[in-house]
Each structure stands twice: as C-alpha cells, then as structure tokens.
C-alpha cells in the first residue's frame, strides 16, 4: 500500500485531494443554498425550521455532515501543506518586481480567500450550528403539530437584523465567489478533465456557479434585513 502514501504525499496527489474535496464542498454549497432559500418563504419560518430539524436529526445526513467537516479540514490541511511547499520552492529571495499580468488575481490569492472563508465558517458554525446542536445558548423549541422543532429561524432572524453582521456575511460571500471563480474550473483541470470539447461548458458553469450561488446566499440576509 506504499503507493497510496506515495500518491497522496506527492504534489499531484495533494492537489487531487484539494480538487475532490473542493468539488464536494461545491456540491454542499448548492444543497445548503437550497435549504437557506426557505428562509424567504413567508410562513414565519415554519418550512425552514422543519427542514433544519430534519437535517440535524437524520442519521444519514449527519453522517454526510461529519464527512463534510472532515473534507473542510482536509481541504484546509492540504492547502496549508501545499502553501508551505510552494513558499519553500520559491526560495528565500523573492522577486523585486512582479507584474501579475500573466494570471488572474483570484488564482494567485486562493490562500487568502480560503482563510477568509475558513474564518467565516468557524463564526458561522458558532452562531448557528453550535446552538442548533445545543453546544451553547438556549434555542427555543416550537411545537409543530405535536412535533418538537427547534426554532432556528428566530435565531437567524435575530442575527440578520444586525447591520454589521449582514455586511460581514455579504463580504464573506464575495470571498466565496472569488474563491469559486478560480476554484471550480481549477478542480476539473487538476482532475485532468481538460478537453477542448468540454472546457467551454465547465468554464461557463463554473463562472455562473461562482456568481449565482454566493449571490443567492447573500440575497437572503439582505432581504431579511431590509424587510
């Protein structure tokens, strides 16, 4: 089994893990957005709460959720490992002049964007996920037709009423957008899926995803804040 170790300690293997975890997280974003959009339903949060309750209690979902955490950590860990290697590869003396004309700035700043996103994820988990799962705070439980359902909606509504929080949230969505702007197509390139016939489609979907999904996320707090 030495080959597995060899493969995943090689730069290419580590990049493969980055790409695979990245694509999983992209998928996760889509699902998460679908759920979040229920916040916009004008029913006092009922649909959203039922959805949230289901997500946090279903065994399969919880299993996938643990995987999701693991992938976030793996994505981060690999990024750190590769960044260290890449810094070392450049050597102690950097260039005095760098023109930056030959590549897009998002591609050169995935690390910074990723760090912003990581900080956001941590605060985001602290504010919502940790309370939902009862690690702190006291989330209220509602009674929907005899079933106890935790009232995540009210919690969300409380946070999205704070202007600074909405601003921060929108800013972080922008970071995600830029991260995806490069990351989506980049993951396919790393997987070796670069083919003249399909590159165009991958690029268009990637760019559209990078704009629409974060925009969708950002729209919700803005809407809730202003209405």
């Amino acid at each position: 089994m030495k080959w597995i170790v060899d493969m995943f300690t090689s730069t290419l293997g580590r990049k493969l893990l980055m790409a695979l975890t990245g694509l999983f997280l992209i998928l996760f974003l889509a699902v998460h957005l679908a759920g979040n959009l229920q916040l916009l339903k004008d029913d006092g949060g009922r649909a959203f709460n039922i959805y949230a309750e289901f997500m946090s209690s279903n065994a399969l979902i919880q299993f996938v959720s643990k995987g999701n955490f693991f992938f976030i950590l793996l994505h981060t860990g690999m990024a750190i490992a590769l960044t260290i290697k890449n810094r070392k590869a450049r050597g102690p003396e950097g260039y005095a002049v760098v023109s930056g004309k030959s590549s897009h700035w998002t591609s050169r700043n995935m690390g910074i964007l990723g760090t912003l996103i990581l900080v956001f994820i941590v605060t985001h988990l602290y504010h919502f996920w940790a309370q939902m799962h009862g690690y702190w705070g006291n989330i209220t439980t509602l009674d929907y037709d005899g079933k106890p359902v935790r009232d995540l909606y009210t919690l969300v509504d409380m946070w999205f009423a704070k202007g600074w929080y909405v601003g921060l949230y929108v800013f972080c969505m922008a970071a995600i957008a830029f991260h995806l702007w490069h990351g989506f197509a980049s993951a396919f390139q790393t997987l070796g899926l670069n083919h003249l016939k399909y590159n165009g489609v991958i690029n268009v979907i990637g760019k559209a995803f990078a704009i629409l999904v974060p925009a969708g996320f950002a729209f919700i707090p803005l809407k809730m804040y202003f209405s």
Binding site: D6, T11, L12, L82, K85, A89, V97, S99, K101, S107
Partner: protein, 257 residues
C-alpha cells in the same frame, strides 16, 4: 535611447546578492535585449568593473539557455525568449529591472546565471523511450494520426528554459514535466513505459523541490513556445491512472539461464 538598468549582482552561489543600477545612453532600438547587455558589459570592462554574467547561446530562440526575469516577467514583456526581445519594446528613459529565475530548485551560480540541472535530472528519471540504437521497426510501421502527431509536436516544442518555473508563484515545474509526459503519452512509441514514466518523473520533480500547480496559468501565458496547460491536465490524468493501476512484476526480470 537612454535606459536605466537595475540588475541583480551576486558573486557566487553562497554570497549575498544585491541590485546595482547602471545607466546606458547609447541604446539602439534595433538591438536585441542581450545585445544591449553586451554593450553594457563592454562598457563595464573598459571601466574595470566585472561584467554581468548571464546565460545565452543560440540567440535565435530555440536553445532555451537565456533566462532573464525582466520587469516582473520571465523573458520580459513579450511572449518570447529574452534573446528575441528587442529594445524597441521599451521606451526611452525606462528603468528595467533584471533578476535571475528565482526558485530553490534553480540555485544562482553568479549574477543572473542559475543552475537548471534539476530539469536534466527529471528527464533522466524517465523522459525517454527505452530503445537502443538499431533494431527498431521501419519508421512507417506504425501510422500515427496527424492530429496526434501535431499535438505531440506542440508539447515537444518545449525548450526547457524554465520560464514556467520562473513565472509560477509556486515555482512549479508542472508545465515542463507535463510537456514531456504528454509527448510520449500521445505517441504509440511511448505507450509501453507510459505508467512508469509519469510516476518516476513526478517523483523526481517533487524531489527537486519544485512547488505544486495551482492552475494560475501564468506558465502558459509566459511560455515562449506556447506550451499549454492542457498538458498539465494530461499529466494529472496519466499520473492518477498510473498510480492506481500500475503493477509490480512479481517474478524477476531475468531470462532463461
């Protein structure tokens, strides 16, 4: 035209380097960039100052020896080799900063001269088809689709200058390595050793201390021969499929005694 040059001077591999500024006031727009440096060096020698060491040889854009990082870009502002860059690309009075390729795998030998033998070692690790001289089939024995041959030629055009490494923020050699891997992966002659080749070359590339590819495409934008990152994707494919499917031969290689 008049120009100001900021050039990296470094006496040897283990000494500290620094920028030094020179002024040149008799530069012709028809000069190539290297001829401009020749003129500078002639001036320096006359003044009793040591000339600037830089690598160059064919001066027609094919040997891959010239290697200057000019105003923040390998081989300067045009997508060509330094020797094919002409002074008409610059404007009168301009300040031009010249640095060596910067990468741990390319240690500086003197001034602007770096040691690129890491590239040779990667090629030695597997950048060949194991055929001895003689005893090969007729050249037309195996037809090769024109498109495949052309694509292999696109990859084979790499001149091994190292601009890809210099351009990459991670000092990654992926474009260089993938060009060779691609050439042989595309051609039927390269198929028998396809898996071992990519495994060995990637391992050597990592051992030399080059960085990882983050798909910024800077290499492709700066490559004087227009090698494309399609080759990197191909190498990734080749590598992953080789790693999961290559096998060790259980029995020894020895023939009948």
């Amino acid at each position: 035209m008049k120009i100001t040059l900021k050039i990296w001077r470094q006496q040897g591999p283990n000494t500290k380097g620094h920028f030094k500024t020179y002024k040149l006031d008799h530069v012709s727009t028809d000069m190539s960039f290297l001829e401009m440096l020749d003129v500078l060096n002639q001036d320096l020698i006359k003044k009793g100052e040591e000339p600037v060491a830089f690598d160059h040889d064919c001066r027609e854009g094919i040997c891959g020896m010239c290697s200057l990082y000019i105003n923040g870009r390998p081989h300067g502002p045009l997508q060509t080799t330094t020797c094919q860059l002409h002074m008409r690309t610059f404007s009168d009075g301009e300040t031009i900063t010249i640095e060596p390729w910067r990468a741990s795998a390319f240690p500086i030998l003197k001034d602007l001269v770096v040691d690129r033998s890491a590239f040779d070692r990667i090629q030695q690790a597997g950048g060949y088809i194991s055929v001895n001289t003689g005893g090969v089939p007729d050249a037309n024995e195996i037809p090769i689709s024109k498109k495949i041959a052309d694509e292999a030629m696109d990859a084979a055009q790499c001149i091994g200058c190292g601009a890809c490494v210099a351009a990459c923020k991670n000092a990654s050699a992926m474009l260089f390595v993938s060009a060779k891997v691609s050439q042989f992966a595309l051609l039927p002659q390269g198929k028998p050793e396809r898996k071992e080749r990519v495994e060995k070359m990637v391992a050597q590339m990592d051992a030399e201390g080059f960085g990882a590819c983050t798909n910024t495409r800077a290499c492709e934008a700066e490559c004087p021969k227009g090698i494309q990152i399609t080759n990197i994707a191909r190498m990734n494919r080749e590598y992953f499929s080789a790693m999961v499917s290559s096998y060790e031969v259980a029995a020894g290689e020895g023939g009948a005694g």
